[in-house]
Amino acid sequence: MTLWLMAGLLFTPLAWAVLTLLAGFRRGRVVTWLGIAIQVLVSLALWAVVVRDGGFQYPLGGWQAPLGIELRVDGLAVTFVLLTALVAAASGLHAGFYLDPDKQWHRYFWPLFWFLWAGLNVVWLGNDLFNLYVGLELISLSAVGLVALGGQSEALRAALRYLMAALLGSLAYLLGVALFYGEFGSLSLSGIASALGQDSSGDGTGFALVLMLFGLALKTALFPMHRWLPPAHGIARSPVSALLSALVVKGSFYIAARLWLELGAPLGSLALAQLLGLLGGMAVFWGGWQALRQRKLKQVVAYSSVAQIGYLFLLFPLTWNTTEAAALQAQQAMTLQVISHALAKAAMFLSAGNLIMSVGSNRVNALAGVSHFLPFSLFSFGLAGVSLMGLPPTGGFAAKWLFLQASLATGQWWWLVVLLGGGLLSAAYVFRVYRASFVEDSNIDHFFHPARRLEIIPMILALLSLGLGLMAEPVLSVMALTFANGEGT
């Protein structure tokens, strides 16, 4: 049973990448629906298995670590697998109707989409440092390919900028892997963690951890290394932007978080933890401020991602050398923030795509009058915005509330400034979009009306993000599931 679930999870995206590469856009769309159905079912079933029996290690090819590659299937991993299935399914369905089937290069959307999904699953389940590197590259290159799709000059510029940042980040990560392998002779993350716990002092690998965190932070677009993100996320087609903002940046962050939680205690330092938190806090303010100043709608949403990513990095100071309870709260807050931001941001980008399609312009001011015409998409945008602001009862609120409690419990009150100020800034930029859409002096009187199914998808995502605050308890209890032998985070 588990064997088939794992195989379904790991190999359907890869197989579907090949199938859709051979088919055209329209046939690829039908094939993709089938694949999405399989992936969602498999993810749900795997989630159910882990909820019932707890997590497990899965050695690929029957070779145990350190010789072979072992996957770790625990509560956090399956939660993210399920989240990916949800958001990718939504983006894939949306893209099927959103992208123009007559543009011949859109046929390449499907294989890249499936490779991206495969790469994300590799990262969530990975426990082998080098395997994670390959997974990261799988994600980066397919994401760059998706941004460049169509090959228009501005898109190429954004894609190249993204590619350069991603390559530098990967190399920094790989250099860290090289140092870790030199020190421990093993690539298994849990193997290294247990070796560190026993005898080895890990001399010299502190620098390796710094390198890897730098590389991953660059790929996650942490301030001030965020400058590649807004052009790439702003210029990509909306379903692509949704995938990139909701999932791709989370992949590299997830690896950073796993590294930190396993190796941070022996190898990290107070300065490193506080620095990462500080950069995260600055990202919240800078991203929010820039989002307020953008003229293009999707740039507003993209800068909002820079800000929301900043919150995630509060994990680092709040788990370093703190009490177990506070560290657990911070981890829960991080998980909820990842999930709620993924749902809200995907909803936001997809509804922004609908709005842009409707008014035929990507500028915020061009939205004047759209409130009459496309209330449904605008409402999804607003609901997602409520979650980003962190108002109750949304998932965003639950995440920020837990961050706040963890900050108070560890005596690091200065993060409260970030949590409150960031919420106000997000309120400001969401209301700015709203204000623009309620302006009545529009002289455009023809709006294109996107199909109803394009409007329903972001609405579902926004509602999920809203409801996450109410369902936080069960979600968090699954996340905390570790292996039967009590190992792991």
Binding site: F130, Y133, V134, E137, L141, V144, G145, A148, G151, Q152, S153, E154, L156, R157, A159, L160, R161, L163, M164, L167, L168, L171, L174, L175, V177, A178, L179, Y181, G182, G185, L187, P231, Q290, R293, Q294, R295, K296, Q299
Partner: protein, 116 residues
Amino acid sequence: MTPSLLYAFAGAALCGIGLFGFIVISHLLRKLLAFNLMGSGVFLVLVGLAQHRSGPDPVPQALVLTGIVVAIAATALAVVLIRRYFHLSGKTALEDPARDTLPHQGPREVREAPRE
């Protein structure tokens, strides 16, 4: 000091040179070369350090082979993107895109005509 360790240190030096090039040079093709230099440095560290510790070790050699393929894939894709970008915009560097924020009310869209 074994020869393998010497390789590792040479790799460290290459990484530094490559990083310098990557930061300083704005020409995209040269930036890409700097990236490849850095990549070679990383591979040297990976193999050199491991072999200094435990003699000939096929695992890092296999990792480096995988790493090379990934680096080649990335490089080839980057070259295709750079060439097309150059073809469309006539530029060889990624200068700052025109600021697209509210207070700036200059030319609305800065767009260079294609070369051809």
